[in-house]
Symmetry: C2
Subunit: 414 residues, 2 copies
Amino acid sequence: MPVGIVVQKYGGTSVADPERIRAVAERIVAAKEAGNDVVVVVSAMGATTDELVDLAHQVCARPAPREMDMLLTAGERISIALLCMALIDRGQEAVSLTGSQAGIITDTTHGKARIVDVRPFRIHEEVVAGRVVVVAGFQGVSTDKDITTLGRGGSDTSAVAVAAAVGAEVCEIYTDVDGVYTADPRLVPDARKLAEVTYEEMLELAGSGARVLQVRSVEFARNHGVTVHVRSSFNSGPGTRVVEEDKAMENAIISGLAHDTSEAKITVHGVPDRPGIAARIFQELADNAVNVDMIVQNTSSDGRTDVSFTLPTDDLVTGKAVIEAVCAEIGAAGFDVEDDIAKISLVGAGMKTNPGVAAAMFTVLADNGVNIEMISTSTIRISCVIKAADLEIALRAVHARFGLDGSDAEVVFG
Amino acid sequence: MPVGIVVQKYGGTSVADPERIRAVAERIVAAKEAGNDVVVVVSAMGATTDELVDLAHQVCARPAPREMDMLLTAGERISIALLCMALIDRGQEAVSLTGSQAGIITDTTHGKARIVDVRPFRIHEEVVAGRVVVVAGFQGVSTDKDITTLGRGGSDTSAVAVAAAVGAEVCEIYTDVDGVYTADPRLVPDARKLAEVTYEEMLELAGSGARVLQVRSVEFARNHGVTVHVRSSFNSGPGTRVVEEDKAMENAIISGLAHDTSEAKITVHGVPDRPGIAARIFQELADNAVNVDMIVQNTSSDGRTDVSFTLPTDDLVTGKAVIEAVCAEIGAAGFDVEDDIAKISLVGAGMKTNPGVAAAMFTVLADNGVNIEMISTSTIRISCVIKAADLEIALRAVHARFGLDGSDAEVVFG
């Protein structure tokens, strides 16, 4: 077998202190000694990014986005240098590259830039010279030659983009969990680690609150056909592979259950039921950068209707101000806010061909006394908004009903 | 008067915390509002560089120099970003540039690179657009496209180099002292701030232990004719101007007294008095990167001689090991080490035409019971190595003898 390039990405927890950095260096050396060329992407150490954000807010209330990017990119600069020192000390030639040196070109949107190109000339040069290349995640250089960041979790995207550009065999994402689980093991004791998920399932899980991979990195991997392998940086377990549907070994109907407690719900009452009114509400929210997730509009009877939507709790202050103004303009009756909600999402590629899944999910929730406040679905996902207090019972009941603990591989619906 | 460019450099103490960063921003805005274009060079905040060095040593004992530079340059990245945030928050458009973005090109010597060129295209662009440009000091990009640092105190050199490249009217070095003094005011209560010193005097003072400016920055200023102005970042006092000799307003015979307690002395006994032996000793030391300062060789009587030299205390461990080996090879009798020494240096451009200065200095030291262990001179400097315990009495006596307190402008020698 010819030598292949393996891209390994280590998150902030994996490089949180000098001891862990040395442990990561050992793992990299092992991969190199196994005959692979290794390109590594790292995040900033532990809480560094949070500390830098805090420092910026001590200087002023609204730091300029371009300067915030200049500031935050110091974080990965520190971790790439320290990791290379550990590798070189261990006898492995290594070289650190900033996002800019690694050829990661982005658009000019500071704070959440998108990668537009990766020009891996220098990476290739260094790999050919036998060195391990350690690339700063989360950062790039814009088409205007300014330093940019990709937004929180952006290091996953950096790793996948580098893997695609260098034609890596696999992009290994090392993290502080063992892989992708059928549900959060802290809430569902029977949760089982998955050996594989498809890109689509992973996208839905990540978009529904599973924190193991960042949504954009999964999109990027799917679009460029990069095999992603989620593994623990603290043990040598097999982890979870994220692959194309037709390459998946097992084809479970349901893959997993994600949940999200970071959202709140706003219901606008007595909205005049005329064309353009809903557009008005959500355009105002979008203009104020409020990220709306689910939207439900009840059937109208008397020319007026209720519109409910969920939004991140972080956006709640802005969201309430926007809705207060809009209510007056459109002549709505008023609005109320619920912030003690949770969303549970059942995800599985097999759902497409099994129409009974939704009904089975609603039934098991009802049987356990859990009231459903909102429902939204995609072809491979069903999400329900419930009371936060019902979260644990709901997760456990749905997890058991669909045999996610592995006890019952063949689940019959309908 | 046409608008001129002023370069201002702020050291680590001046930007040590968010409050001081805001104060520096105020000072910059004042300079800009006075009608100048302002280019700022900053060091890393307070103890940042030391903390990063410490972190590196927690990872391994001998960090690779290239990676050390990658690590340390995170420090100024943080300070330039925070200072720009403060300026923008204050309503002043500003843009931070790394050494690389500012066009500071160096050789490839990691840890103590030399600036080979400054290509200020981007600085000019931003200045023309009305922005304050904040450049990261201490760092550059090498001709091999790697990140380099200029060594401790290198931010002064960055500032002078940028000032020369943009044709600045003046390079203001803001620091935590009021200017250049006739002696260290903590040891000599009568010490007086100088309004002006010449490049040559400043070079000798800096080279003899005065910490206010870094030697290389003064050399650079002299070679490129940059007027340097040392000022306090905590008050608006007039500071000290460093100028060419023929531009100096006052021409005191003696300008100041510097001291250095960071050196130790090694004496090699019974060295065979043959050609090439001294060369052998000092070549070995140079090959091991030991920085030798003063060298004294006693007259030989019996075919053997004693050789003494001073070296930084930091190099003492290496220096002793080298000398131990060399002693055996050349058949010397042995060596001893003294680390409780101090060096005092009297500096003044007028010394050239006043041959009595040296004798007057030795006399006042003898009169005060201070024994001189070694002597070295240049055309405008006389340095004496004495016991560290005698430092304060020696400084005060010499300071008074040469009228440096201003009480006696006309001092007669000989």
